[in-house]
C-alpha cells in the first residue's frame, strides 16, 4: 500500500524542500519506488535541489489540467532509477491546484509508487492545505526557534482537523518531528531551543535532528540531495531519519555537542 508523506512546517525557510529531496532520495535508495511532488506552485525549487531543472517539460499543473499525462511530466532521477520528480509550475500560482485534481494525480501515483513525498509550500493557505490533505504521514520540519515552533504547532492543528483523514474520521495522520538547523553549541549557550524544549511544546515523536551544516548549502547549490553526501553530518542525519521511518531502531545523533578528542583538537582547530 502506497503511503503519502507530506513535508510541512508552516514557516518558510526551515528546510522543507531540502528535507523532501533528501527523504525521497533516501527512500528510493532503499529500493522503494518514490515520487516527490513540488506543491510550491509559482516558486518552483525542488527541481533545483534535485538538479533536474533543465529537464522540466511538463509540470504538476499541466497534469491537473489534462494537458499532459503523468508519465510525461514525471522526471526520472539520473542517480537513482527509483526516484521520480513531479515539478511545480513556475508560471502559475497556487489557485491553479484543485482538490479534485490533486486527488486524481495522487490516486494515479498510488498505483505504481510505494512512497509519495509532497513538498508543501510555506504558509497555511491553499497550497499547504492541498499538500497535506491526502497525507498518511506528516514530517513536520521545525527549526529550534520560537516562531518556527509556534508555526509548526499551528500546522499540527490543521493536520489534525482539516485533512481527508480528519474529515472522514479515519485514523489521524501520523505526525513526526524533524528538527533542522540544530546547533548543539548554541543550544548550550542558551541561544537556541533544545530538543527537549521543542518536544515539550510540540509533544511529538522525534524522527531526527539535522545539524546546521555547510553541507546543506553546498548540496543545494550543486543540485545534489544532501543525503548523497555520505561524509556530511547532515547527510548521515537524513539517512538515519529514513531508516527510523522505515522502522529501524537507530540512536539519535547530533543532539549533543561533539567532543573533540586530542586529535580533533590538533587537526580541526
Amino acid at each position: 500500500m502506497a503511503r503519502i508523506i507530506v513535508v510541512t512546517s508552516g514557516k518558510g525557510g526551515v528546510g522543507k524542500t531540502t528535507t523532501s529531496a533528501a527523504i525521497a532520495m533516501g527512500l528510493a535508495k532503499k529500493g522503494h519506488k518514490t515520487a516527490v511532488i513540488d506543491f510550491d506552485v509559482g516558486l518552483r525549487n525542488l527541481d533545483l535541489i534535485l538538479g533536474c531543472e533543465r529537464r522540466v517539460v511538463y509540470d504538476f499543473v499541466n497534469v491537473i489540467n489534462g494537458e499532459a499525462t503523468l508519465n510525461q511530466a514525471l522526471i526520472k532521477d539520473k542517480r537513482c532509477d527509483k526516484l521520480f520528480v513531479l515539478p511545480a509550475s513556475q508560471t502559475r500560482d497556487k489557485d491553479a491546484l484543485t482538490l479534485e485534481g490533486v486527488g486524481k494525480v495522487l490516486n494515479e501515483l498510488k498505483k505504481t509508487f510505494k512512497y509519495i513525498v509532497c513538498d508543501s509550500p510555506a504558509g497555511i493557505e491553499r497550497g499547504a492545505h492541498l499538500a497535506m490533505y491526502f497525507a498518511d504521514d506528516a514530517f513536520v520540519v521545525t527549526n529550534p526557534e520560537v516562531s518556527s515552533v509556534r508555526d509548526s504547532d499551528r500546522m499540527l492543528g490543521i493536520l489534525a482537523s482539516k485533512s481527508q483523514r480528519a474529515e472522514n474520521s479515519e485514523k489521524p495522520i501520523k505526525e513526526y518531528l524533524l528538527l533542522t538547523r540544530y546547533n548543539p553549541a548554541r543550544v548550550k549557550l542558551g541561544e537556541m531551543l533544545s530538543v527537549d524544549d521543542v518536544q515539550d511544546i510540540l509533544s511529538l515523536h522525534l524522527l531526527g535532528v539535522i545539524p546546521e551544516s555547510q553541507a546543506v548549502l553546498n548540496a543545494s547549490n550543486s543540485g545534489t540531495p544532501v543525503i548523497l553526501d555520505e561524509q556530511s553530518d547532515a547527510g548521515q542525519a537524513y539517512s538515519d531519519i529514513v531508516d527510523r521511518y522505515l522502522g529501524e531502531d537507530k540512536p539519535h545523533r547530533f543532539i549533543d555537542e561533539e567532543k573533540k578528542g586530542l586529535f580533533g583538537r590538533l587537526f580541526r582547530s
Binding site: R150, D153, R154, G157, I201, L202, S203
Partner: protein, 247 residues
C-alpha cells in the same frame, strides 16, 4: 382540474419542530408595582439588550398566590419586552393566560434546578420544590473531553465543563460555560464561565497562560506572578477579583 395537479403545486407551508433558547423571567412577587419598579431598574442597565427581546414567564414561585396576570404582562410590555407565554402557575392563572391568548408551556423536568435558589446570593424566596422530588444535579451535562493537544490557532468551546488531558499551546483558545480542567501545560488562553458564571473555575497542572479569564474577569500573562507559573493551580473569582491559588 386543480385536484389532479395538486401534488405538483409548491407547498405553502410546512410544520417543523425546532428548539430555541428563550430567556425565562421567574416571578417572585404578585405585587405588580414592586415588580414593575424593579424590572424597570434592571432593564435600564442594558436597554439595548432587553429591547424587543422575547421572554417566557415562569409562575411556579407564585402559583399559590393571587396574581393579576394581564397587569403583569402590561408591566412587561411597558419596558418593551415581549412575553411569548407562561409556564407553571395555578389553574386560575393559566385560565387568565388563555383569556389573553398567551400560550402555556409545560414545565421541563428539573427546571426548578435552574431557579436561582442556590446561585444568587440574594435571598430569593426559597419556595420548596414540592413537585420536583427527583431533582437532578446540574443539568448542563454537555461536558467536553479533549485528549489531544490543543494546537496554536485552535479554539475549543464547551457548553458545560471542559476537561483537557493534554496541553494547550500558545495561541490556542479554550472556552467553557462551566469549569476548565487542564491536565498539562496551559500556554494559550483559557476562559471559563464565558456566559457569566462567576462560580466557575480553572484548574491547571502547569500554568504558563497567555490569558486567564473567569466570567469576563481576566488577567494576562504579564500580570501573573512568576511564582504561580509551572505549578498546579486553581483560579477562581472572589468579589470580582481573580484569585490564583496553589492547589
Amino acid at each position: 382540474m386543480p385536484n389532479q395537479s395538486s401534488s405538483l403545486t409548491l407547498p405553502a407551508f410546512e410544520f417543523k419542530s425546532s428548539v430555541i433558547t428563550v430567556p425565562v423571567l421567574n416571578i417572585y412577587t404578585t405585587d405588580i408595582n414592586h415588580f414593575s419598579l424593579q424590572l424597570r431598574e434592571k432593564v435600564k442597565q442594558a436597554a439595548d439588550f432587553f429591547k424587543n427581546s422575547s421572554v417566557l414567564i415562569d409562575l411556579q414561585n407564585v402559583q399559590d398566590q393571587e396574581l393579576n396576570l394581564p397587569l403583569l404582562i402590561d408591566a412587561i410590555h411597558n419596558v418593551e419586552i415581549l412575553p411569548i407565554g407562561i409556564r407553571g402557575g395555578s389553574e386560575a392563572q393559566q385560565q387568565s393566560a388563555r383569556k389573553i391568548q398567551l400560550p402555556i408551556f409545560s414545565i421541563p423536568r428539573a427546571s426548578a434546578e435552574t431557579a436561582p435558589v442556590e446561585k444568587t446570593p440574594e435571598p430569593a424566596p426559597p419556595i420548596a420544590n414540592t413537585n420536583q422530588s427527583n431533582e437532578e444535579p446540574q443539568n448542563n451535562t454537555i461536558n467536553t473531553l479533549i485528549t489531544q493537544p490543543v494546537r496554536s490557532g485552535q479554539r475549543i468551546y464547551a457548553k458545560g465543563d471542559l476537561v483537557i488531558t493534554s496541553h494547550v499551546s500558545a495561541g490556542a483558545e479554550v472556552m467553557a460555560e462551566g469549569n476548565i480542567h487542564i491536565y498539562g501545560s496551559l500556554r494559550g488562553r483559557a476562559l471559563a464561565g464565558i456566559l457569566g458564571d462567576e462560580e466557575s473555575r480553572i484548574f491547571c497542572t502547569d500554568l504558563q497562560a497567555e490569558l486567564i479569564s473567569i466570567a469576563g474577569n481576566y488577567r494576562i500573562s504579564e500580570d501573573i506572578e512568576d511564582s504561580y507559573k509551572k505549578i498546579p493551580v486553581q483560579i477562581y473569582l472572589d468579589k470580582q477579583a481573580l484569585i490564583i491559588k496553589n492547589t
